[in-house]
Amino acid sequence: MTQVCKTSKAIGGMGHSMKRKEDGRFLQGKGNYVDDIKLDGMLYMDIVRSPYAYAKIKKIDSEAALKVPGVLAVITGRDLEQYNLHWMPTLMSDTQMVLPTDTVMYQAQEVAAIIATSRYAARDGREAVRVEYEVMKPVIDPFKALDPSAPVLRTDKPGKTDNHIWHWEVGDKARTEAVFASADVVVKEQMHIPRIHVASIETCGCVADYSKVNNHLTMYMTTQAPHAIRTVIALVAGHVGLTEEKVRVISPDIGGGFGGKVPVYPGYVIAIAASFLIGKPVKWIEDRSENLQADSFARDYHITAEMAGTKDGKILATRFKVLADHGYTDASANPSKFPTGMFSIATGSYDYGTTFMEADAIYTNKPPGGVAYRCSFRVTEAVHAIERMTDRYALEIGKDPAQLRFDNFIPKEAFPWHSPTGWIYDSGDYEAGLRKAMDAIDYEGLRKEQTEKRAKGELMGIGISTFTEVVGAGPSKDFDILGIKMFDSAEIRVHPTGKAIARFGTKSQGQGHETTYAQIIAEELGIPAENIQIEEGDTDTAPYGLGTYASRSTPTAGAAAAVAARKLRDKARKIAAYLLEVSEDDLEWEPGKFFVKGAPEKSKTIQELVFAAYTNHPQGMEAGFEATHYYDPPNLTFPSGAYICVVDIDKETGEIKVRRFVAIDDCGNIINPMIVQGQVHGGLTQGIAPAMYESLIYDDDGNILNGTLMDYLVPTAVESPNWETGHTITPSPHHPIGAKGVGESPTVGAPPAIANAIVDALSPYGITHLDIPITPFKVWKALKEKGAI
């Protein structure tokens, strides 16, 4: 189905590729980021970090540091302990040190903080702090963490006797085992979804500004969820007087979040404590290495994946067993009831009867996590598992992986579709997406070319990923974070002259909300999007909301905007009936005005109606033109996509060239096609990243081996192929504007398409699986082991 714009270009409602309203300031370098904030008397903080993964702190000697000109204070865990601020909860109700009193649990952990009058003095002070450690042997390998001989890491937890955090399972174990036992074909692979980092351009930071006179904290910080953070601050620091009405969180422009700016990091808390004690603003901005080495990682799932099927290609069952390495503490940012996030979407886009999934989370001496890096919640891991195994199964039975998918897709007539793990997929047309992608890339032609190349010994591969995403968390009956339900909000105020300001509980980090939210309101009210100012990120002015992550802004706050605008349109109808002296039922709406049925010359524009709301409103009606809505979604939305990747591999060097990449996304109705395309481009690049480049690597002692961007390989424009994008449109039946969310689909869908293409290229040599990131060295080694070179 195609989407038709209902509004004129001048109004700029849904479907118009209007230029982003925020880009004027960004492109001129006039954005306002946390590090741009400068306050009178502001002090600067730097942080001493542990060089060891596991060590007892014997002594922290601050004497030399305090002699560095400009250094005012050195704060340790013992100092925070006096105020009971040395521990904090994680979003998963685990606990995390703010600063240690006795033991460090991972390399780069915060050990002490320096407060100084300049950024340089703070760093000089950091260099001068002397810490004596007693180094202990860390637990790094997650497979050894549950060994009875492994040291118990969380001795702070009374009665803890092992490194196990939680067990989770879903599905029908007995039925799945029975199907596996009798199936003709069973394939199995052990796979690792690597520990990676969001590596946003802007690192994390804050300015904590506590006023002793007013007993009030203003916290400027890089957070994707300002309201939730305000509540967390009040919960953590309420006992020292920072109750919620005395806390204002301001999240200014953000240079990329991707889930990494959802958690509360120790640095924020230390900065608040320092400002609280000193009574001056304290700025803390991480440097690039600190960001990469200490802030929450993502992924790090070890998955034993199995698929059972018939000889001719009908999937019968899947089984997934996960070992989740959370590092020192479970600092995920999942909804409370979902310790593995939405991993249970791993049954995929396929119609089969049964599955069983289980996961065990463990502690190791690595930085805590894992955040939901542009993946909704653990959907990347799920999609990789199912899409890799689908290709693995096709390879096993010698069937074309595209045909195998067609033979197993959930048919479009079957929606809403109840998955074996309890999801109700709202809508989808998987066959149309894959067909479109295959046509765009000339799938048949590529397979012919591949046959010819294989005859010559050349390595060419074609990989498919037909994924289903699950986003828009979420319905309040199931979704909360720390007990706060995952609704989101919009508040629209239309001024007498017909221009508007709208505020939201979400927070853009580059997604373009200032444009897309305005377009949604323009669609519903007919006020030009250009005349609608969007604001987010200030807890004193915006309505409460859970923030932006998990592709949830359009499904929740976008829906709230549409519903609030419809409340206003209903009010406008009443005013129009009054002004035109007709019954409300005699009025018809077209974007921008109400007119009398059969007499279109009798009409009132929305601007006239708004003006009347302030100047000539019907007696008995509330004056003004404002509406607020808190939207509690009835279901999640289920975007999908069909991606096809073609690779050529240099057999002698193992180098992989992505020749083509076609991405057909279905995110339902589209608000701004240009912004969707931009989202997809960025997401695909962040998909190629773990597929071919990125992975945080630790040695046996817990030292990070690639803790700077010299070695942690974030792909650039040079590594990015020419992304070929397109879409199918299957509107969400339950969402007010039929939208589904798109931000994370490409990050989720791209890695298995690339991995499948590479394995496809190498499969003539008996290679059935390679863990991502698949590097030239890994390819060469695999070919060498198989005797191919």
Binding site: T708, P776, F777
Partner: protein, 289 residues
């Protein structure tokens, strides 16, 4: 960059620079393009007491030919090399190497001289200059000396340049007719150090005999390395699949790479072999073209 405190000097003549070098000794670092020095200062691996910025010294920014010598001044940027027509005509290897050095921003600042003076076997120009048999001009208060590239590198970050001296120029002998050159490195992504890199220059006479071979290797040895046995395997012979294979095998055997995240020793040796083979082919094609 939150570097440690340092003094900054910007002399406008070499004599002024030498005076400053005598004053600060080991505690001074020369700033040309800064793309090796500044990251080290950022990480506080280097905390020099004084930065001597030589960018205001005239006469160091030219590429000129004087008879049989091509001269590259110490402040010549990589971006300048990319557009130096006469240099590229005689030494196509520079078109290969500059586009593999990081990204345009880095090439706008980074200098060929700095790339050598940093004394890092992971940099690209050392291998290129070895293949071309270049020499390095080093100037001090007591005069200048010309050091063959083979005698220039001493150890990790250590070269023939003394603390009171400055690299002022690189001199490359003009090639004989029918000479070709080529460079390639494997890199994990743009801007990465080489997994392995190979620079080759060949001269092939009218009878198809190789009369000159220069082969340099990048990042597969503690010091920048010339593959001498590989060169010997080619000189005096026709360039055939057999001689190429022999030269490639020697390069692979003679280098001494370390395992890192780019690959293990076996892989790096294999890549030296593959690249040596490919670059000999490419240089030979350019030689007869």
């Amino acid at each position: 960059m939150i570097a440690a405190d340092f003094n900054y000097e910007a002399p406008t003549s070499l004599d002024e620079a030498f005076t400053l070098l005598r004053k600060y000794g080991d505690e001074a670092k020369i700033l040309s393009g800064g793309h090796s020095l500044i990251p080290m200062m950022k990480l506080r691996f280097a905390s020099p007491e004084c930065i001597i910025d030589i960018n205001n010294i005239p006469g160091l920014s030219d590429i000129t030919r004087e008879g049989d010598i091509m001269k590259i001044g110490a402040l010549v940027r990589e971006a300048q090399v990319e557009h130096a027509a006469e240099l590229l005509e005689h030494f196509p290897i520079f078109a290969d190497v500059t586009k593999l050095i990081a990204d345009p921003q880095v090439r706008n600042m980074g200098t060929v001289g700095g790339n050598l003076a940093h004394g890092d076997a992971a940099n690209d120009h050392p291998a290129v200059m070895m293949a071309l048999r270049a020499s390095v001009v080093i100037a001090g208060a007591d005069g200048t000396r010309v050091v063959p590239i083979d005698e220039f590198f001493f150890g990790f970050y250590s070269t023939a340049i003394q603390p009171d001296e400055i690299l002022t120029e690189i001199q490359i002998p003009m090639p004989s007719p029918y000479t070709g050159s080529a460079y390639h490195k494997l890199e994990r992504k743009v801007g990465d150090y080489a997994t392995a890199g190979v620079a080759v220059q060949l001269t092939i006479d009218a009878n198809g005999i190789c009369t000159y071979a220069g082969i340099g290797l990048t990042n597969v040895n503690p010091l920048p390395m010339r593959a001498a046995r590989s060169e010997e395997a080619l000189v005096g012979k026709k360039i055939t699949d057999e001689t190429i294979a022999e030269a490639a095998r020697y390069a692979s055997d003679d280098c001494n790479p370390s395992a890192d995240l780019r690959g293990d020793v076996e892989y790096k040796r294999a890549m030296v072999g593959v690249l040596t083979k490919r670059m000999i082919h490419k240089a030979a094609q350019r030689a007869v073209a």
